[in-house]
């Protein structure tokens, strides 16, 4: 494969939703079954125009709910058809039961999730409570910082999910409104290059193979269920390597490199902040400002939340003194958000044991800005100074 230079002529001004819809056109799934919900709606609308204009050969199923969207997608993916859907928040929550069936049946479905706060109270703006609610559902979860990453993650997700060592469904997460509706320059790839990169959908057996009938979704009791779940867990473990090798392959194609996470000024940092999604951009800017003032702060932006790359994270963060974990979701466990709990567990057996604290922020689309990130970093600097934590969980940018 030849390396495509980031030629500005290949870039187009696109919103995140447009970029994802564009990626879906290029993937041209055999079946898309979807249901509208803000802020994902545009994806299904734009994709519908591709169907209506004959730009894709996809069978589009305008289902009557997200529950049926995921149910139909399970049926079609099991029938030898590359199958996709897309959703947000309450839609994802309504799919919850079938998310587990998709992964438990080992169906490589790809689904963009445009992150939005879960009701109630109802709120249509960005946070990660939807995706975090599905974190134990056996889906690969890739987070995107911007429309470009959402676009690039889509193709990689197809390859990861369908890889014979993985065979698990995958979510491509992008922040509602901030990414989905924000316009930016996106470098797109040629349709042919994408075709070649993703190849044909292959599963070992299809329901439509009437000569070799199979029974899918059987009653699986005490004597076998556990082994099937164990195999699923193992597939998730194996997916880490696959994610990395597919990222390398994609880099050759696109010139853009992806890993399990991205480090920014982390090498010599004393304070690290850990983020998911679009907040990374704001954090990068703030870090530059603070670095100019001599504060040694860096960032780790996690791309792959499932599988959780614990070994790599432990290594990457071992040298810092303080870690501030930013969660755009609460878990109501009373001990912080999901990213915090997991990262804290990982750092427990690090020899250096950095101090680690949680910042829950941006719920329901509450703005996160450089001022707030600076406030957080200054607090983390105080923690470093004191050599101990005041509290595990801090709420950033909320009226107390």
């Amino acid at each position: 494969m030849s390396v495509v230079k980031q030629d500005p002529r290949n870039s187009t001004a696109l919103t995140g939703n447009e970029a994802v819809a564009q990626a879906m056109r290029q993937i041209e799934p055999d079946v898309v079954a979807a249901y509208p919900i803000t802020p994902q709606t545009e994806i299904v609308q734009i994709f519908s125009t591709y169907v209506s204009d004959g730009l894709v050969n996809t069978e589009y199923v305008p289902v009557e709910s997200e529950h049926s969207a995921m149910s139909a997608t399970v049926g079609s993916a099991a029938s030898g058809a590359r199958s996709m859907t897309a959703t947000s928040a309450n839609g994802l929550a309504l799919m919850w039961e079938i998310l587990y069936i998709a992964s438990g049946t080992r169906l490589p479905i790809v689904m963009p999730v445009v992150n939005r706060a879960l009701s109630g109270p109802i709120n249509i703006h960005c946070d990660h409570s939807d995706a975090m609610g599905a974190r134990d559902s056996g889906w690969i979860q890739l987070f995107s910082e911007n429309a470009q990453e959402a676009y690039d993650n889509m193709f990689q997700a197809v390859r990861i999910a369908e890889h014979p060592d993985v065979r698990l469904p995958a979510m491509v997460c992008l922040d509602g409104f901030i990414i989905s509706h924000g316009m930016e320059n996106v470098f797109t790839l040629e349709d042919n290059a994408i075709r070649e990169f993703i190849g044909d959908y292959m599963i070992e057996r299809s329901l439509l193979d009437v000569e070799q009938p199979m029974t899918l979704g059987p009653l699986d009791l005490q004597d076998f269920y556990f082994e099937h779940k164990r195999a699923e867990a193992e597939a998730m473990v194996r997916s880490k390597k696959v994610i990395q090798s597919i990222a390398e392959e994609y880099e050759k194609l696109s010139g853009r490199s992806y890993g399990l996470f991205e480090e920014y000024k982390l090498d010599d940092a004393e304070i690290a902040i850990v983020v998911l999604g679009s907040t990374a951009g704001t954090a990068r800017y703030t870090i530059d400002q603070l670095r100019a003032q001599g504060i040694k702060v860096g960032m780790l932006k996690l791309r792959v939340f499932r599988p959780f790359p614990f070994e790599e994270l432990k290594q990457a963060l071992a040298h810092v003194n303080v870690i501030g974990v930013m969660d755009r979701a609460d878990s109501f466990s009373s001990i912080g958000g999901p990213l915090f709990s997991e990262l804290r567990a990982v750092m427990y057996d690090s020899e250096t044991r950095p101090l680690i604290t949680n910042y829950i922020y941006g719920l329901g689309g509450r703005d996160i800005n450089p001022r707030l990130i600076e406030q957080m970093v200054r607090e983390l600097a105080d923690v470093q100074e004191a050599g101990r934590l005041n509290q595990y969980v801090n709420y950033l940018g909320v009226r107390e």
């Binding site: 149910s71 139909a72 030898g80 069936i101 329901l207 009437v210 899918l216």
Partner: protein, 306 residues
């Protein structure tokens, strides 16, 4: 030529014996008749319920055709996805066979929790047949009421007690609701009349677009009846006009069976443990109301079919 028993007997049976349904259960007959009604390959979907759990205990399966169980409330949506995959792959030349699609669901999975999924799939016009095997309660979880449970029936969530006589409400007329979807073919059938059942299934397979069949399917356990009573009780259901046999073909209603000697609801209900308490003194009024409702529904059906 329309299907007859002789022809049906020659067809390969697409479900094997040795499944774990109770002796005398109605739905194995439903499966046999429905899948025997087409010679094309069939892909089957099934909702969670007695049918699914008794036929697919891993690593065994009773199904000789491709089969998918997804969840309780989404048999229709799941098969709609399978059919969409088929349409897509056929258009692309990746599949060339003629394949038929059937979604099975119990009354719980159809009238209640799967109602929306069913309605959506029918409205979207998928080329599929939905078959409800109606045994009048949630049998798999231990005989709880559904909206298909007949009035007066004892179930474990509408137990007959000192002040209650069982389920208070009449059953939902789902078949008529499905007819209101304006789909090409809707029919009500029973395991008491196998030729009628198979012919209706054959029609359902042959229409272009969605078809819905509601099949009366006895449950010896839930109804508290003998194991050899399935046929007689089903026949009683049609002879009393509690479960009329009819079809709605492109909007035209047709009654398939008019009992020469209509039996009373008392006669039919008496034979089943689930109604036994209705025959205690003091419940006469309830039985009269039940009879009147069945008569009224039957008259309504005859009018529709005029």
């Amino acid at each position: 030529m329309a299907l007859n028993l002789k022809e049906l007997a020659k067809r390969p049976v697409r479900i094997s014996g040795g499944h774990r349904a109770c002796a005398g259960c109605g739905f194995p007959i439903v499966i046999k008749m429905i899948l025997g009604a087409t010679e094309d390959p069939v892909v089957v979907g099934c909702a969670t319920g007695c049918m699914e759990v008794t036929t697919t205990v891993f690593p065994y399966t009773a199904w000789k055709v491709p089969f998918i169980h997804n969840a309780f409330e989404n048999s229709a949506a799941t098969i709609s996805g399978v059919e969409a995959a088929y349409q897509s792959l056929k258009r692309q030349g990746k599949v060339d066979k003629e394949i038929k699609f059937v979604a099975f669901g119990g009354d719980g999975g159809t009238y209640d929790i799967g109602f929306q999924s069913l309605s959506g799939a029918m409205e979207r016009g998928h080329n599929m047949v939905y078959v409800c095997y109606d045994n009048g309660a949630y049998m798999n979880t231990g005989i709880q009421r559904s909206s298909a449970t007949p009035r007066g029936s004892h179930t474990t969530t509408t137990p007959a007690g000192k002040v209650r006589y069982g389920k208070k409400e009449y059953r939902k007329d789902l078949t008529t609701i499905m007819a209101a979807h304006g789909i090409p073919y809707v029919a009500q059938a029973s395991v008491s009349n196998l030729v009628d059942l198979a012919r209706k299934a054959e029609k359902a397979f042959n229409v272009d677009g969605p078809a819905f069949l509601n099949v009366f399917s006895p449950c010896r356990l839930g109804w508290n009846v003998p194991a050899d009573s399935a046929r007689d009780i089903s026949k009683g259901a049609t002879d009393s006009c509690f479960w009329p046999l009819f079809e709605v073909e492109n909007g035209v209603w047709k009654v398939s069976y008019k009992p020469r000697n209509k039996i009373s609801m008392d006669d039919w209900m008496e034979s089943q443990g689930r109604f036994r308490h209705l025959f205690k003194p003091g419940n006469e009024g309830i039985r009269e109301e039940i009879q009147a409702q069945v008569d009224q529904q039957w008259e309504l059906l005859l009018k529709r079919a005029e």
